[in-house]
Every structure is written in C-alpha cells, then in structure tokens.
C-alpha cells in the first residue's frame, strides 16, 4: 500500500471503525511473523537441526496463517542482542531463542519491546512477555544409561560434556545412576569439550576415550563426529544426541534421544494466534512427547531393549522419576531419602555429581 496522508487517514479510520465494531485489528490481513534464533547451523544434524524441524512442522501446520524466519549460527553473547532486535524490527511478533546463552540478550530485548512475545529455550528468566521452555533430557538419558550399562564390556562408559551447566550435569548423573543400577561395576569417564559444536574436538574426545578403554559413548555435544570416530574404531557403541543420527544405524548408534519441538511450537503459535498466549515455564519430557527415544537397533539384545522400553514407559506415565532416592552426593552425604524424588528447583540448579562418579565438575 502506498503510504501518503490520505491513505494513512483512511487506514486510521478503518482501524477505528473496526475497533468500534469489536473486530480484532491484528488478524487476517497479514500472517503472524514468527522468528527463530539458532545457535548453530541448521545443518548441524543435532540440536539446531531439530529446532528447525520444529519450525518446519509449525509452518506446515499453519500454512499461510504464519510466516517463519530464522537466523542461524548466532553467537551467544552481545551480538545475539543485535540479532534478536533486528528480528523484532523486521516485524516478528513471536520470537523463539533456542540456546541457553541467549537468556540475557532475550530478557534485555523483551524488556524493550513489551508488545512482542518471546520464548527462550532452556533458561530460567521470565517476564510477562518472556516465556521459557525446556525438555527433560535427563529422562532420555536414564533410558540410554540403562542400555549403556548393559552393553559395555569394559565397564567404562564415556560422556562428552559440553559446558558444566545443570542440564548437562543432570544428564551425566541420570545416565550414570541407571547404568550402575543394571551394572554395579560400571565407571563413568567425563570429558568437557567446552563447546556445543566442534566436530574435530568432539572426534578427538571420542578417540581419547576409546584409547582409554571406553566402549560406550554418550554425548552432550551436537555433531555426529563421535559417531564417526566410534564407527572407525569398531566395537564401540554410541547414541544419537538431539537428532536421531540414523545414518549411523545399526551400529555404532544403537539408540538416540530426539528433541521433538514441533508440538510445542505449534501449541504456542496457536496461542499467539488466538490471543491466549501467556508467559509460562514449560518443562516437558517423554510423557509430553517432547523427548523421544529413537529406534533401538538389533545390536541390542531383545531383553535389554524390552527393559529400556519399560523404563521409558514408566517415566512417560510418571510412575517413575529418574531421580528417586536413595541417592547420595558424590562426597557421600545423603541427597534424596528412600523413595524421595528430586524437585524441579533442585534439578534446575544441579551442580554436583552423585555418589560413584569420579572427577570434579569444573568451576
């Protein structure tokens, strides 16, 4: 529309009329613009790839009613604020920022634009126009920890950690607890890569573990490089992280934890379209369909597969919580009493290993 004084007046008049008639001004004329900020490239085959799958699912679901845009490989830190602001200025009314490090930039931009809705993944800061969402990855870790404990021959399980934040520590503890439950001799070797995505470093970390006798590797980093390293070594098992990583079936990848963001994105975009969107803190797991366990391949014996699936089902219907006492802290002091379950607040601030894991969490 050409904008001159006359059309401006006319559109103002139309808007006023519509407002008087009680017709929502926003809807119908233009699609809702939804923005996504990604920390890695869409082609990482892991974390960001899954978020983009969620975006595509939402786009498919709503068709012409929404328009989605994304920016990939946005560095965590000051530049993120610029990227998010730019997205607001380009007309996005709902913006998903999909990495922990975007928390402060998102909160800052949200404070400046109270009319725009923001959703930040895996953080803890909320505002009337800033919601958070996360997935209970530790529920999936419990399942693959069980498989790992059964599959290891050397009784050494490796865990490639990204950064020492609660989410990763939950994963290490959860997988270790359940590996040890089925195999009391199991030991956990942790390497901190200090990156979410660096294929060469992840491959080197996997190789260092394999050289030291680790034969099952769990990763909390996003590339498929550890899978390739395990494949080359042979006789080493891995699990897909964030994405199914199906290219490495049936071995070394014997199962996977899949982040399934599509349903959540569809639900929240629908709320924004209906005008019912409200700030919240959502933390879904296996039961909500946000965490999926990928196909357990034929390399896993049938009884182990059945055991893992039963565990996943119990977690899914909430009859079992992966952090159920008795559990001690690493130094031997009691944490959870018999039958006691960890609260969400405890888990979101988790900063210690459970008993049996050696090594220290870097400060």
């Amino acid at each position: 529309m050409k904008l001159n004084r006359r059309t401006l007046l006319a559109s103002g008049a139309t808007a006023a009329t519509l407002a008087v008639l009680g017709v929502p001004v926003r809807a119908q004329d233009a699609p809702l613009k939804v923005g996504f900020i990604y920390v890695g490239p869409v082609g990482d085959g892991g974390w960001t790839f899954q978020h983009d799958q969620g975006r595509l699912a939402a786009q498919e679901h709503f068709g012409d009613a929404i328009e989605t845009i994304f920016q990939e490989s946005v560095p965590e830190g000051a530049d993120a604020e610029r990227a998010i602001t730019q997205m607001v200025l380009s007309g996005c009314q709902l913006i998903f920022t999909t990495s922990f490090g975007f928390m402060d930039p998102t909160a800052n931009v949200a404070a400046q634009f109270p009319d725009v809705k923001f959703e930040h993944a895996t953080g803890y800061k909320t505002a009337p126009n800033l919601a958070t969402y996360d997935a209970r990855f530790y529920e999936g870790r419990a399942v693959i920890g069980t498989i790992a404990g059964r599959m290891t021959q050397t009784n050494k399980i490796g865990y490639i950690g990204s950064f020492p934040i609660p989410e990763v520590i939950q994963g290490i503890n959860s997988s270790f607890i359940h590996a040890r439950k089925v195999n009391p001799d199991v030991e956990m070797v942790v390497i901190w890569a200090y990156t979410w995505f660096d294929p060469a470093k992840e491959a080197d970390a996997a190789k260092a573990m394999i050289e030291q006798g680790v034969d099952v590797i769990l990763q909390h980093t996003d590339s498929t490089a550890p899978q390739a390293a395990a494949q080359e070594a042979g006789n080493v098992f891995t699990f897909g992280q964030a994405s199914d990583m199906a290219a490495f079936k049936p071995t070394p990848r014997i199962s996977s934890i899949i982040d399934n963001w599509g349903p959540y994105y569809i639900q929240r975009i629908q709320a924004a379209l209906d005008g019912t969107w409200e700030s919240q803190s959502f933390w879904g797991g296996i039961g909500e369909g946000e965490v999926l366990i990928g196909e357990i391949t034929e390399a896993v014996p049938a009884e182990v597969k059945a055991e893992a699936e039963a565990l996943a089902a119990a977690i899914g219907d909430k009859s079992y919580h992966p952090f159920t006492g008795p559990l001690n802290r690493q130094d031997g002091t009691p944490w959870l009493a018999e039958g006691q379950v960890a609260t969400d607040e405890e888990l979101k601030g988790l900063n210690f290993y459970v008993e049996g894991i050696t090594g220290e969490i870097p400060a």
């Binding site: 890695g40 080197d204 030291q212 090594g359």
Partner: protein, 310 residues
Amino acid sequence: MDLTSISPVLLLASLMVAATPILLAALGELVVERAGVLNLGVEGMMITGAIAGFATAVATGSALLGFVGAAAGGAALSLLFAVLVLWLRSNQVATGLALTLFGLGLASLAGQPYNGVRAPPMPELDIPLLSGIPVLGPILFRHDPVVYLALALVGGVWWFLHRARAGLVLRAVGENHDAAHALGYKVLRLRLLAIAFGGACAGLGGAYLSLVRVPQWTEGITAGAGWIALAIVVFASWRPLRLLLGAWLFGGISVLQLNLQAANAPIPVEVLSMTPYLVTILVLVLISSGRGRARLAAPGSLGQPFHASR
C-alpha cells in the same frame, strides 16, 4: 587419577593425526608469507577445501581424488585473493579477513546437499615390515598417506627455501620486493604462485578434517583451525622445521588435554586448553629477546602492496 590408562604410543600416534591439518595449512601460509604476502584467509580456504574435497570424494568414490579436488578448491579461492591484493592492490589484512568470511559462507552453501552423507573411506597405508616394529610401528608407520604427504611437504619446502635457487628468489621477493624487481624478478607472478600453493595446502588441511579426521561434512568443521595455523607460522618464526615442531606441540597438547581429562587428572580443563597459546607467547618472548632477536625477523615486505612504478 589414573595416568597409566594413557598409552604414550597411542597418544603419539593420535598426535601425528591431530597435527596434520594445521601443519598443512600453516606450511602453505609460511610460503605465502615468505613471499611477502599476508593472507589471513586460511580459515576460509581450509573450509572451502574441506567441502570441495568432500564433494569430489563423494562424486568419485575415492578419498584420494577428494584431496586433489580440495587442493584445487583451496587454490581457486586463493586466486581470488591474489587478484585482489596483487593487481587491484587492496589491503591484505582486510581482504584476507573477507576471504575467511566468504569461504565460510560459500562452504556452507555448497555443503547443503552433503549433510549426513558418508565419505568414502581413506585407505590406510600400513607400511609392511616397518609397521610391525614395536612402539615405533604404531607411532610412525600406520597412518594414512596424507600424514606422510604433509611430512614430505615440510621437507620439500625446507629444501626449496634454503637449497633451491627459486626459493632464494622467493625469499628475496619477500624481504625486499623493490630490490627483487630491480634485479628483474617477476614479483607479482612469484607471489601469485606462492598464494596458489598456500591455498592448495590450506585446502588439503581442510579436506583432512572432512575426509579423515572427523570424517564427514558438517558446517563450521574447521572451527578455528585456520587461525591456529596462522599463529604457528609466527611461532615458527617463518622456518619450516620449527613449523613442524609447532604443529606437533599444538596437536599434541590438544590431544593430551582430552586424554588427561579422561584419566581424571587434577588439572583444571581451562588451564589445559590454554596451554598451547601460553606456550606460543612464551616462545615468542624467548626468541625475540636478546641474541635471538634477529632470528625472529619477519619477511621485510610482509603485508606491503607492490607496484612496479615505485
């Protein structure tokens, strides 16, 4: 802590592998800088080589042909740089940085169809007899051909720079391009060849990541290796044999760092991660102080544009 779980033999063997990409890229950059051109686009040329090599290997089914494609890809990108800085006389620092950004974007675009595709395997080159030697066999004689190619190139570049007449001319161009021009040497042509060689080496280094070390295509696969290669050239004070030492040091510490973590060594991860850079600073201080000072000397014409009229 259980340091006995670290096997020194396997550690040294993986050191050789970990050092190869940065060694190749740094070697190319050393020749470029010896010719008086500062090309900060190593990272961009590496990742272009990584995807060019990967695409060639997938198309032909041969990893070795992939390396040929990688060298061609890296060299092609470096020729763009050469035209800009040699004939259009643009600022070398800015052009080099632009080349890195361009290369990263180009590789990401070209790599779209290759996500999740598997690379053909690289033939291992088990040297008969020698590979059976205990200790030395696994360390030295059980690698893929590219590791040996990199080592041979180090020797070749050393011989070229210090024993061959053409290498002398190349060094002369780098030390003082006006004097070399006055003597009748083709400054621009020589620099063009040096830049192309640098691009080809960076491409090989990148392809080593995507075809052997990782081995698959993922965006951002070089993850800063090109910058480390640039640092090693300074670390080596523009000498090929010291360059080998530097690459092994960097490769060695990055591998050792992960091994120490896995063995539960009580050293903070952060300290281990910064060790290579600390060592670089230390070495620079040592060799640039006192008697050793003259040895640091960077090529005299490094980074300066050349025009025959001046």
